[in-house]
Amino acid sequence: MLELQNICFRADDKDILTDVNLKIDDKFVAITGPNGSGKSTLLKVIMGINEPTSGRVIFDGEDITDLPVNERAKRGLSFAFQQPVKFKGLRVRDLLTIASGSKMDLDRDCSFLKAVGLCPRDYIDREINDTLSGGEMKRIEIAMAAAKGGKMSLFDEPEAGIDLWSFNSLIDVFENLREKTDGNILIISHQERILEIADKIVYLKDGKVARYDTAEVIMDEFGMRRGRGCKCAHGMEGESCNG
């Protein structure tokens, strides 16, 4: 499905990603690792938002390294930003319509909002601007990625910056998405409950793939389960890892 070959990314005289090689075929794969390990950059390289310094991105057998973002979108990649983008004047329904790639279908668009726990009637005509809270923006961002659909959806830390109540229902959203979607999911997360439902976990450290294995193996190896007394998903209590 997705293959990364020798991906390097350098910015401001720093190596952010170094020789990343990965083959991703499983339905639900999580990327985790400490802050600054290059997770978001890696996801942006896959989507074409960041151009790698070297290396190739192969998607469904096609080399997409030189394709612009929209061409990758057309080939079946979707992307949910960690910090959703705000607009002036564009409404939720406008973006859902663009995402689904066809004419407006109110029932269909509302179903995407319902799936992320938002009452369609209250949100479909809302502008995607500063009046929406962080939690609302996150849900709308996920609804858009679901509306876009396709072969692989990329989520950049959907749990970041949202309150506990929103977080709990967010987990349900991803469990639901995992069950219902036909495509694959590649998600950056620090959260035990998200990592738990992954088939595989990529553990990124200092811009390199430190480990890549089944969720069970990685979670045990890095002590990512709270049941073992850790307060953060990586078992790195005291370190800044957003766990």
């Binding site: 989507m47 929209n70 979108a73 992307f79 002036k88 564009l90 406008d94 663009i98």
Partner: protein, 305 residues
Amino acid sequence: MDDIQKRILKEVAELDALPVGAFNIRANGESAARNTTANIDIVTKEDKPGIDIIIKDGTKNESCHIPVIISKTGLKECVYNDFFIGDNCDVTIVAGCGISNCGSHDSAHDGIHSFHVGKNSKVKYIERHYGEGTGTGKRFMNPTTEVELGEGSTMDMDTSQIAGINDTYRITKADISKDAMLIIHDKILTNEDQTAKAELICNLDGENSRADIVSRGVAKGDSVQDVIIDISGNNKCYGHAECDSIIMDRGVIVATPKLKASCVDASLVHEAAIGKIAGEQITKLMTLGLTEQEAEAKIIEGFLR
């Protein structure tokens, strides 16, 4: 009306056919169609070009369309339309002008509108200006709108210049009485070497009067826009001025929010922002499958909605 006139009517008033309710359609300097209702009368002025629109006290849920169409090259006109809106009304007024100029002579429409709104009335005012044509003749529009808003009344103005006007000088002046509120959403799109100047002046004279004036502009090509929002707080009042603009290509925008308070209980706020389209907005729409150009067009469409 011919096909060109029908198309312009659609652009400025979103009308495919004659509207329901009161209307006066002015085409190439003459009244092309008119309808009055039991509550809304339209009378031709005798001393100068234009009409008086008289709306009776208590008129509710009625509308009045007064579009102007110019399709004859070289036609220049100055038209005076006066609205007398009674007390306790709730009405929608749709105005606007479209010029199609395929000839070599300049066409121009200067519309001078004055609104005298009674007490406790609600007025929704929609005005669209549009130009088109392949000729060398230019298209000019200089609308002036004067508003006297009576006690407890609300006027919600949605004004826009969609495209194709070479030069415009738009003046809106409003005097707001006690407990009355003025809302203006003004939108201008300019392109090529077009110029647009807009002055939105509001005097908050009455106690508890309010104004919310938002101007949004997009300047493309080599076009130039100059927007002034000028609010005076002369009583206990609240006023908000916002100039929000996007520049593209070599466009130039001057945005001037101006506030004057002459009463210690006047609360006045202004905001102004000019910049290009945020790169992250374009990227976001590209992740949904739009090209960069399509993304830009969508962002502008939303911004000027």
